[in-house]
Symmetry: C2
Subunit: 291 residues, 2 copies
């Protein structure tokens, strides 16, 4: 714990302070930050509000200021006329490039005083910290399968399976109700308000629960999100009274199968007639209290 606190202290001092300085440039900080966030690709106003966590009115005013300075144009988005799109002008892009350069200089100022060996060690450790911090930013929560985030996950899930299975894949969007309490549970994993994984479990009265649609986005694979989802699903199953969970999988999904085995699942004979799976697993649950 002291390590974490020491880290926080040093890092906010070193990175935080300099990070503000790199944006400072006669313009107030909030404006620079906004300009930086819009980026060369542009961004929707709502996305900016979300990412920078700003009051709608305040953001609007900031955009007006940048617009008056000729750095930004705000136009209605195509499709929905209420949504507005902020884009950098030529001058804005130049300004952004300048900030980008300063950001690079900042990064270099952290490496420059070190020896070559130290630089290597630092970047390696930074990489590790960054990945693990991302992992710890992922939250897992119950969510109705009709929620837009859940839909996005299922779309990605189906798309991926369709690509990886020789036979293709079509998700039967049949009965979402089976994943709504009390019949079952649908979980979504979120990173910075973006859905990066999902999983669901369907309870069977007096029978084994079944886990389905476990999926993790490629952007966070290897961070233990799959395992967290799986553990949570088992907890829900146990809380609903199940003493066994089972699931099916396909030989193309090697990482998933590895996860199941290492989580204590054992292969069992076919228990359903679905055309896609060729492996079936089950795991005994230890009845645990609480949800």
């Amino acid at each position: 714990m002291d390590v974490v606190r020491g880290f926080n202290r040093t890092v906010t001092q070193r990175v935080g302070a300099l990070d503000d300085k790199f944006l400072a440039r006669d313009r107030p900080l909030a404006q620079s930050r906004l300009l930086w966030e819009i980026g060369p690709a542009g961004a929707e106003v709502a996305a900016l509000r979300n990412r920078l966590d700003l009051d709608a009115g305040y953001l609007s005013r900031l955009l007006r200021t940048l617009e008056a300075a000729g750095l930004v144009v705000v136009t209605p988005a195509e499709g929905d006329g209420r949504v507005r799109m902020a884009r950098l002008t030529e001058a804005g892009r130049a300004e952004w490039a300048h900030l980008d350069r300063r950001s690079d200089e900042l990064a270099w100022s952290m490496l420059a005083p070190l020896s070559v060996g130290q630089r290597d060690r630092l970047t390696t450790a930074m990489n590790e910290v960054q990945r693990l911090l991302m992992a710890s930013m992922v939250t897992v929560e119950v969510c109705p399968p009709t929620d837009p985030r859940a839909r996005a996950c299922l779309r990605a899930y189906a798309g991926e399976l369709a690509e990886r299975f020789e036979s293709g894949f079509t998700l039967d969007t049949d009965d979402d109700q089976q994943f709504v309490p009390p019949a079952g549970v649908f979980l979504v994993a979120t990173l910075a308000s973006e859905a990066v994984g999902c999983g669901s479990v369907r309870f069977e009265p007096d029978g084994p629960a079944e886990i389905k649609r476990l999926w993790v986005s490629g952007s966070v694979r290897g961070l233990g999100v799959g395992r967290r989802l799986l553990t949570e699903l088992e907890r829900h199953a146990a809380a609903a009274g199940a003493d066994c969970v089972r699931l099916d999988s396909n030989r193309a999904l090697t990482e998933a199968i590895r996860l199941y085995r290492s989580a204590g699942y054992e292969e069992i004979p076919r228990y359903n007639t679905s055309p896609y799976p060729d492996h079936w697993f089950a795991k005994q649950l230890h009845r645990a209290p609480g949800v």
Copy 2:
């Protein structure tokens, strides 16, 4: 470089944002920050101004506010009546303890979502990053040997040698002039405006330069500060026209001797009559341009 930038981004998002929040507590941030910095041990006003990098007037006003809220008392320091000491009252200590608890919670919130193995890896990597960032925050600069920072280093240096040498040690404060350009150079290593190391070199017309008083504070030992000082001193010697540097040491200073050897110094016969050293080293310099 991209690693560093990615790290900065994630870390300011995760640590920076939360770190501000942990101080937020109906009171404005600057006040909380100040209270936090004063700490249960109290602090001199000048030290606070230095650490938080605040305007003198602004800081004074903040202290008045905290005083009015009954959290802090400011009293003249004993010894020097101009210097003032800020201390927490009972209520202030309670408030500080609360912040301390929140800081712990914050730290925990970073570890909690991770598996045990991940936690280990994260703390290890954080430790590494923190140490190396501290190393990269150290600056080395030329400084007159009469400067208070130089004096502080020399005092620490002499104290340490006195403790480690069987025979004791007395620094001959004789001729500081030999370390003032053009006769020589005195370097000080600074971390967060605190002197953490020093070293000096004396040029000899048409002869080998001599490095003396190389010292690194225990708080930053192992971060490569000694090597940086040594390299800088050699650069100055080369720039002043020397093609060889020498120095003496004592067998009690094992780390220093290890440093000299690994930096390319070779043992030579006694070249002076000082009573303290029992090892003498020299290194050939490659004439390099620039200071």
